[in-house]
Amino acid sequence: MSVLLLADHDRGELAPATARLVAAAGGLGPVDLLVVADDPAPIAAAAATLAGVRKVLAVQGPTTAEALANTLERCAKGYQSVSASASSTGKDVIPRLAAKLDIMPVTDIVAIAGPNRFVRPIYAGNALETLTDPQPLHLLTFRASAFRPVAGGNAAPIESLDFSIASAAKLLAAHRTQTDTPDLATAQIVIGGGVSVGSAEGFQLIEKLGKTLGAAVGATRAAVDAGYAPNDWQIGQTGKIIAPDLYIAIGISGALQHLAGIQGARKIFAINTDPEAPLVKLADLALIGDLFEIVPQLIAELDRLSLASRTG
């Protein structure tokens, strides 16, 4: 079964999660990556290096859901699966394409249990659904965080396709968060801050701890709603799904909608004033106390420890 996989990108760069999606799709058969962008060439070049990619298709064009669904439809012939990341792009496009093709899609896949058997979470990850898709074409999205990335070193051929794609919807403006922290979805360490961080300035303290550890920074919905953190930092059922080796949750209660986003974390540490908070109960390690006292001391202590290990 061959798979056409839509590649995500931002600011002219291939999304770091792509290596994980190639691994996921590769579980079904040979993978061809499709890059649609204003300037697809550099992104396609990066895509071609991923191990297991058979070829890269590069198309110059708009990236609204309509345009991407139309482009995928034109490229889909001969494939048994058309897939994408369960990212904001994949979620936008795959169901639209599915309805056009009269196919019921399977989305947010976290495990492949057979050639057409998949596992996906429901109810904010509080249950896992195993299903069989008997349709002749499989329209899928994968949760990148659930799969290990493929290596690089490939030099797959790149084919440029030329066709004009129309879209009634037009992109007027993109608003990006200015930050130099690592990509949340693929980071090894993530620090999360809750509404008790109290202000945007408070989040600078969380970011400082993040810098000390080379970690990405995330937030709860309550913190985002309060305007302390940008929306693309939200972790959870309706935000990003993360699977770091270490998640440090600071002043976060652990509502089930937040837990939905962190179930893939290998270790969870928590700092909270409340020993009864669900996140404290669930954490591998917890420190009970006031974050405003603890975090500055923690940064100093971690600085000291890394200095000690470097000189020692």
Partner: protein
């Protein structure tokens, strides 16, 4: 402008669900049900457009068993004008839901269809996008702001890199995210008034849509449980544990 809003009745988002031991699904009997939270934001957006004079009529539709009338009543109490229940006791896949909604769009000709971005039971996040495709309309999913500008809408969407603003010619399909607005709580007089608003019940089977499921659900299981951890007494111990984790990562 005429607006159609689709609302789903789901297990209330505050309920801690229980997976049935035989793998047949999630226990829903005797569990509190309510309107899917994202649908509430969709209804609120429609009502605000009506209040500012930009929408003339709001029709609300739900597909499901008879008690789904309750969520339609909630929407009517919030300010929608009339309701339609497409009654069915069968659990339907999102593609079938979208096809039924497309039939209703054919009948009602709304300029705008508003939906929630996702239903918190199946967490699919499909129906708006599917309906947009079936009715060949432009879409803006995950909306956190909707503005009418002449014959078009300007919609700001929450996406992985931040936010983006799209311009959509009407008719269009928009799905609501949580930061779109703050849904109002219906007051008792509004609830009383809602009972006198028109609400028709039609059978979902009468629309000539193939409602048979495409996918075969084999089993529903609980997620693996995490082993309970422990609390440490000192900051030094906590910091040392973090450092140990980091060292382990670097060693790999």
């Amino acid at each position: 402008m005429k607006i159609l809003v689709a609302v789903k009745r789901v297990v209330d988002h505050n309920v801690r669900i229980r997976v049935r031991l035989d793998g047949s699904g999630v226990e829903t009997t005797g569990v509190r049900m309510s309107m899917n939270p994202f649908c509430k934001h969709a209804v609120e957006a429609a009502v605000q457009l009506a209040e500012s004079g930009q929408a003339r009529e709001i029709v609300v539709v739900s597909i499901g068993p008879r008690p789904a009338n309750d969520v339609i009543l909630t929407a009517l109490a919030m300010g929608a004008h009339r309701g339609i229940l497409l009654e069915t006791d069968a659990p339907l896949e999102t593609l079938a839901i979208a096809k039924l909604l497309a039939k209703l769009v054919e009948e009602e000709h709304p300029d705008l269809v508003l939906l929630g971005k996702q239903a918190v039971d199946d967490d699919s996040n499909h129906v708006g996008q599917m309906l947009a495709a079936l009715t060949d309309r432009p879409q803006a999913t995950f909306a956190s702001q909707i503005e009418r500008v002449g014959a078009a809408l300007e919609v700001t969407r929450e996406v992985d890199y931040g936010r983006e603003t799209l311009s959509l010619p009407l008719p269009a399909v928009v799905t609501a995210d949580l930061r779109l607005n703050t849904p109002r709580n219906a007051t008792l007089p509004m609830v009383m008034k809602a009972r006198s608003k028109p609400l028709v019940v039609r059978s979902a089977a009468d629309f000539g849509v193939d409602l048979a499921p495409r996918l075969q659900i084999e089993n529903i299981s609980p997620p693996p449980e995490r082993v309970a951890g422990r609390s440490v007494a000192s900051l030094a111990e906590f910091a040392a544990a973090i450092a140990a984790e980091v060292n382990e990562m670097e060693a790999l």
